[in-house]
Amino acid sequence: MNKNISRIESVIKDTLKINPERADETQKFIDMENSEKISLLRKMIRIRRFEEKVTNYKLDGKILGPVHTCVGQEAVNVGVCSALSDHDYIVGNHRSHGYMIAKGAKINLLMAEIFGKSTGTNGGKGGSMHVSDISIGSLGASGIVGSGLPVACGAAFASQYKNDGKITCVFFGDGASNEGTFHECMNLASIWKLPIIFLLENNGVAVTTLLKGVSASLDLYHRAQSYGISSKQIDGQNVEEVYYTVKSAIASIKEGKGAVLIEAKTCRFHEHQEGHAYLRMSDVGYRDKQEVNYWIANKDPIKLFSNKLIAEDIIATSEIEHIYAEENHNIENAIAYADISSFPSNEDAYSNVFIK
C-alpha cells in the first residue's frame, strides 16, 4: 500500500471515527437468522443492479430528468428498511430508489415510474425524485432538500395520536442537516416525543460541496444533543450495524424514550446525479478521487458483507452468484415492463390536481 493510500486510510478512519456512545450494537441482537442475513445481502444486490441499470438508461437518454442513485449507500437503505416493519412509514428525499426497494417496492412499478409510464408507482407523474407507494409505507419522496423532515414529523404525530404503533423513518443527507427544518423538526420531535427516526446519511458531500466547508464538524450526530434527542453515529457500510442500530432505536422509541437520530457515515460512489453532464463533474476536483476509489475498493457494503457471510460459512460464493443472476433477471424484467408500458394518457395531465 503506497503512502498516498495510507494517508487516505487515515482520513477515512477519521471520517469513520465513531462516537463514544456507540455501543457494539451487533451484540444486542445476536438472533438474526442466517436466512435474514442472506436476505439483507440480496436486497443490497437488487438495489445495486437496479441503480446500475438506471445509470445506463439515463446515459442513453431513455430516462429523462434528474436521477440520483444510491450506489455505495445500499447498506443504509437495506439495514434501515429491513429493521422497520412493513407498516412503518418512510419519507424519502431526492435519492430514494434504494429505500423503496429495501422497503419492498415492486421494482417493475418503480422502474416504470422512473421511465415516466402510466404503470409507475405515481402513474408517471412523479418520476425518480418523487417515487411513492403507500402500500409499502412510503409517504413519498421530496426533492426539496430538508423538506421531508416536517412531513415525517406529521406522520409520526399521526401515529402517536392514533396510537397505531408505527414508527416513521425520514432519510436525509449531510447537506439537508444545514436546513432550518432540521432544527425545527429535532425540537418538535423532542418536545412531542415523536416516534421517529432521523436517518442522516452522511456521505460528506452535497452535490460538489464538501461537508467540511459547510459545517464546523464532520460529525453531525451531536447536533441532536441540545434537543435532548439521543443519537448514534454508525458505519453506514456495515449493513448489520445499520440493522441492529435501527432495531435498538425502535426498541428505545417503543419504550417511550422518544425520537432518535442516527448518523450513518457512508460514501456516494457515483456523481450527484446520473447522466453525461454529471459524469464530467467527477473531473472538476471538488472531491478527492483517490479517496472515493479507496471507498469503492475497500468499503463497498456488498463486498464487505458478501465476504463476511462467506467467511462465516453462511453462504457460498456460488449461492451469491446465483443471487446476482436472479436479481439481474428481475431487473431485466423490470426494464422490459417499464419499456412496454404506455405513457400516461394525455388527459391524465389534468387528474389529481385536486382529489374529488
Binding site: N122, S147, A158
Partner: protein
C-alpha cells in the same frame, strides 16, 4: 344565531372538532388566542387536539401535511398572512403538489388559516393579502370569506375538504355581526350574488365585499343599479356566476384587497377580457391595493388601499363609458 365573524370561526372549529375525533388544530398561542376565535377549545378538546406549537412555521405546516397524509384532518392557524412566507416551501412545494405528484395516493385534508391585517397600522410585515400568490400555485384551494355566515360555512367546508385549503380571514371584518345559520353548507367554489342589479357588476374579494355593500345606498342615489358579487372562494373560482352577471350588465368593476399586480382582480379581468369581450360595454375597472408595501402611518395606507371612495369613483367612471 347572531355571531361575529370571529365567533363564527370559533364555532366552525368547535363543530368540526366535535364531529370528528381525527381533527386536530395546531397553532402558536392557539390555547390562548388573543382574538377569541379559539376560546375555550383547549378546555373542551384537550392539549392533544388543540396544540400550542413552537415558533417553527415550516415544521408545523409540514407536520400538518404529514399527519393529514396519514389519516388525520389537520388545521394550522398561522395567524398573520405574512407568516405564510416562513412556511412557503412546505405550502408551495409540498402541500400544493402532494396530490398531483403522488397521483392521488394520499388524501390531504389540511386547512391553513391566516388573517389579513391591512388598514390596522400593522406596517409592512404584518399587512399582506397574498391570496394571489397561492392562486398562482396550483393544488391549493383558497377561500376568502367576507361575512360571518361565510366565515362559518366555508371554514367547515375547508376542514372537511380532502385537499389543502388556505382560509384567509379578513381582520377588518372580525367584529361584523349577523345571523348565522349553522346548518347552511356552502361549497367551496360558489360565488354569492349579494345584491342583484342591471347596470354594472361589482365583483368583490374579501373585505372589499363589505365596502361595496356599504356604498350601495350612494349608488342607488346615483341611479346606478349594481349587482354585487362576492367571489367567496378564489380556487376554484366560480367564474360562471360572474360571467352570467357581466353578460347581463355589460359592465364590471372588480375590487380586491391584494396588491394590484397579478391580483385576483387582474385574473378575473383577464378571463372576462378573453371570454366575454363582446358582452362588455365598457372597460373593465379594477380597484386594488397599489403596488406599494404597507406603510405604518394611517394616512399613507389610506392613500394606497382600496376604499369606499375609490370603488365609488371607479363604478361611476365605468358607468360613464359608452361603447
Amino acid at each position: 344565531m347572531k355571531m361575529t365573524y370571529g365567533t363564527a370561526i370559533r364555532e366552525a372549529l368547535l363543530k368540526e372538532l366535535e364531529d370528528d375525533k381525527s381533527v386536530v388544530l395546531f397553532g402558536e398561542d392557539i390555547q390562548h388566542n388573543l382574538y377569541g376565535y379559539t376560546d375555550n377549545l383547549v378546555n373542551i378538546f384537550g392539549k392533544k387536539r388543540v396544540i400550542n406549537t413552537p415558533l417553527s412555521e415550516a415544521a408545523i405546516v409540514g407536520t400538518a401535511v404529514g399527519a393529514a397524509m396519514c389519516g388525520l384532518t389537520t388545521i394550522v392557524d398561522l395567524t398573520v398572512a405574512n407568516f405564510l412566507y416562513v412556511a412557503m416551501d412546505q405550502i408551495a412545494n409540498m402541500a400544493a403538489k402532494t396530490n398531483y405528484m403522488y397521483n392521488g395516493q394520499f388524501k390531504l385534508p389540511l386547512t391553513i388559516m391566516v388573517s389579513t391585517l391591512y388598514n390596522s397600522s400593522s406596517a409592512a410585515q404584518h399587512s399582506d393579502r397574498p391570496h394571489p400568490i397561492f392562486m398562482n400555485t396550483p393544488g391549493l384551494k383558497i377561500v376568502v370569506p367576507s361575512c360571518p355566515q361565510d366565515a362559518y360555512s366555508l371554514l367547515r367546508s375547508a376542514i372537511v375538504d380532502e385537499n389543502p385549503v388556505i382560509y384567509f380571514s379578513d381582520r377588518s371584518l372580525f367584529y361584523t355581526k349577523e345571523d348565522v345559520d349553522v346548518n347552511c353548507n356552502i361549497k367551496i367554489g360558489q360565488a354569492s350574488v349579494l345584491t342583484e342589479g342591471s347596470d354594472i357588476t361589482v365583483v368583490t374579494i374579501s373585505g372589499c365585499s363589505k365596502i361595496a355593500m356599504d356604498l350601495l345606498p350612494e349608488l342607488i342615489n346615483e341611479n346606478i343599479s349594481a349587482e354585487i358579487i362576492d367571489v367567496r372562494s378564489l380556487v376554484p373560482l366560480d367564474i360562471n356566476t360572474i360571467k352570467k352577471s357581466v353578460r347581463k350588465t355589460g359592465r364590471v368593476v372588480i375590487a380586491d384587497t391584494a396588491h394590484k399586480s397579478c391580483s385576483a382582480a387582474s385574473e378575473i379581468s383577464s378571463i372576462l377580457a378573453e371570454d366575454l369581450f363582446y358582452d362588455l360595454k365598457a372597460p373593465i375597472g379594477i380597484v386594488a391595493y397599489d403596488d406599494v408595501p404597507v406603510p405604518f402611518a394611517k394616512n399613507l395606507e389610506l392613500q394606497i388601499m382600496p376604499t369606499k371612495e375609490k370603488i365609488y369613483q371607479k363604478v361611476v367612471n365605468i358607468m360613464q363609458f359608452n361603447k
